[in-house]
Every structure is written in C-alpha cells, then in structure tokens.
Symmetry: C2
Subunit: 231 residues, 2 copies
C-alpha cells in the first residue's frame, strides 16, 4: 500500500529502498520535491526518526538533497567523479566536505630540471614557475606539492592568489585553458629530511609519491607536478 518491501530487515532500509525506487524509476525526477518526512512516516506507518534515518542515507549517497525549511528533493547519484578530480586536489577534498588549506611555501621563476624540461617539452633555456605548497587538513599537513608551469604559457601566474584557490581553476580562468588529460605515476617512497620536516613525520616514513603531467585541450603539457602524501 505504501510501497514498502516485502523483504525482511530493518524498517529504515525498506523505506530507503522504496524512496530510492521512486527516484530511480522517475516517479520523482531530478529536482522534484519528495513528500515531507511527516507525510512519509504516515505513509510507511513508522516514526519520523525512522524516515529520517532512511533519508539521511540517501542524502549521504547524493540521491536526495535536503533544504532546511523547504523540503527534500530528488537529485542525481553522484557516481564516481573522484577520478576526474584527480586533476584538482583542492576541489576533490572540498567535494568530500573536507576543508583544505593550501599553504604557499614559495613561488619562483626557475630554470627547470631536465626531467621537467622533457615532461613539458620546453625549449632550451625556457623558465618555469615552481610552486611549492603544503596541503593542510584540520591544521595538519597531509601533502607536499610542487608544480612547474611554463612562464611562457602562464605569464604573471606568480601574481595571482595561489594560496586560497585551486591552482588548476586559476589557470583555467585566467588563461582560458581547460585541463582534459593527465598522466600520473604512483609509487611508494621514503620521506627525505626536508619532506619529513614539512609533513611532520620521522625521516624515512613511507609516503606515496605521485608524479605527473597535466595537459590542456590541445594536448599541450601545462603542469609537471610532484607530490608526496602522508599515510
């Protein structure tokens, strides 16, 4: 009658399944308002707290959105955008509800290393901005990040607000590029002395090294980066 499953198990899971079915089968298309919690409780013949438990699970999954004082709305299942956002650490963490502080250690015009020169296909003698940052979560350092970006491609990058915004977003907005591809290598390393100091771990602690290159539309390599992660 109310659409509850015949299946056994906790009542809130039955409610959850029922509401999920409504949304997935299109009875509540994206953006539509669901019945209020009180109404659902009445329909399913359970208490409002039980309905809330079901709805909370769906909200955590991204299948519904709750708006205080307004209602609960059908939404899209967010699936696995995680991999996209490998491109942008800051945005990924924000999407997970984790506050990230980017502490800018330094940004300098430098002569690139041979590896970076090759990765970015630079002409001999060409300079890069070398951007060193520390990523902090809840005040604790979690990663040390070095990006190298050709001065020719992003002139004046050192004058922008690198501390507070996502580097990739900044490059996209100020220089009109769009990152579309990246290559990454993941491998374990042990913390060097300076890395250990920055990340507040003993030297030699196992870290994850991620090295990579990010490309924009035309296949142009724009960022050669080096990161080490704690944990």
């Amino acid at each position: 009658m109310a659409g509850l499953d015949v299946q056994t198990g906790p009542r809130y899971l039955a409610v959850r399944r029922a509401v999920e079915r409504w949304i997935r089968q299109g009875q509540f298309p994206e953006g539509a308002r669901l019945p209020s919690e009180g109404e659902l409780a009445r329909r399913f013949g359970c208490s409002r707290m039980t309905v809330r438990q079901a709805i909370a699970a769906l909200a955590a999954e991204g299948l519904v959105q709750r708006r205080h004082g307004v209602g609960t709305f059908a939404s899209r299942p967010r699936a696995l955008r995680r991999f996209w956002t490998v491109l942008s650490f800051t945005e990924e963490m924000r999407a997970h509800g984790v506050e990230v502080q980017n502490h800018l250690l330094s940004v300098r015009r430098e002569r690139p290393s041979e590896a970076v020169r090759r990765a970015l296909a630079l002409a001999p003698g060409e300079l890069v901005y070398r951007i060193r940052r520390l990523r902090l979560v809840a005040g604790h350092p979690v990663a040390y990040h070095v990006s190298c970006i050709p001065v020719r491609i992003c002139p004046g990058l050192d004058g922008l607000d690198l501390a507070s915004d996502s580097l990739y977003r900044l490059v996209e907005e100020h220089y009109g590029y769009r990152f579309t591809r990246c290559e990454r290598v993941y491998r374990p390393v042990r913390a060097t002395a300076p890395e250990a100091r920055l990340l507040e771990v003993p030297p030699g602690t196992p870290l994850l090294l991620v090295e990579g290159v990010a490309f924009v539309d035309a296949g142009l390599p724009v960022d050669a980066c080096y990161e080490v992660y704690r944990e």
Copy 2:
C-alpha cells in the same frame, strides 16, 4: 565536567567535538575502545540518540569504528589513502562503505593487442588473460574494466574466483607479488556502442577513460588495464 564545549550550537556537535578532541589529542589512541554510548550519554548529560548522532558523524569520517556487540574504537583519520587504492577499485569502494559487485563478463586467453604487448613487455606470441568486468554499485553499472595479465606470470588465473574478489588481491595472494607502482592516464572519451550498452547510457555519452599499467616489486609490469567510468 564531562568535557562539553562552552560553544553554542547543537548538542550532538558539542559531543562530537569533545570525542574528536579525545582522539586527536591521544587520550584514546588508535584501537582503544571508547566508552559505550550509554556511558557517553550519561557523561554528557544527553540522550543516547544524541550520542549516536555524534558518533555516526565520526564514523563516517573514519575517526572511529563501530563494531556491533563489541564497542566503538578510535581509528586514524584516513587522510588520503585514496591514491593508494587507485590500485584496487573494489577495495577503495568498500573502504567508502559502497557495495561493489564485480560482474565477470569474460576471461579468455588471447593474443594481446600491440599496445598491450608493448605495455607488458611481452615476447612475440606470448598470450595474456583478458578479463572483462562490469562494476556495479547498487545494481547499476558504473564502470567497464578490461585487464590484461600475462599467462606466463599468472598461470591458471582463469580458474580463480574473479567475480567475487579484488583482482589485485587475488594476484598478490596466489602468486606472491605485491603491487607497488602504477601508471595511469586519465582522459575524457565518448561511449562507443558496446560501452554504451554495457553502461546503460546513450552512445556518445562522455565517459572517463583510465588506461594504465600496474607493476609489482621488481618493476615487472603485470596488468595492463583499460576502464571507462560513467558520469
């Protein structure tokens, strides 16, 4: 007296802050059992449901682990192990509390494509196991995955239970290897007709393509994989 904040706001947030502080400051080191929910309710002068709301939030964050019938235990903020587990989709999803079903489409001994042959540094004429799988979350396909593993390195792989376990875990356990490095390329593609059919999207839908090679200790390439993700 119970360590509740002076700060304003919902009571469950005060409880949450207090318990979080206990753990972060080491009063409950990793693995230690926290007071029971009833005990916490008594200490904080609130109902058990309020304590549960606080603990649920910490559990979602990974700062505590709950074990039915046993207790609640301090854990490590999981920080960013995400990147490690790029190596194993199944394990990563499980760690996030998402049930993944691996639907085995086929596993066959095949002659590899030229690209795979190069990636795996195969001798001419060498064969690979080509493992085609569909990843399902909540019954819906989210990714199509093709792995190629040299028959020489993992003989008899086609006889193992590829459907129910993580492929990498299986290889590590049965053949004594340990995956330590992987290379990945991420880029957007449009769904081909067969991919569209498998992932239940219209052909041409934007997908994320991840191509890569995974290596074991000695630097030996063991898996050349190709995956496309919805969304």
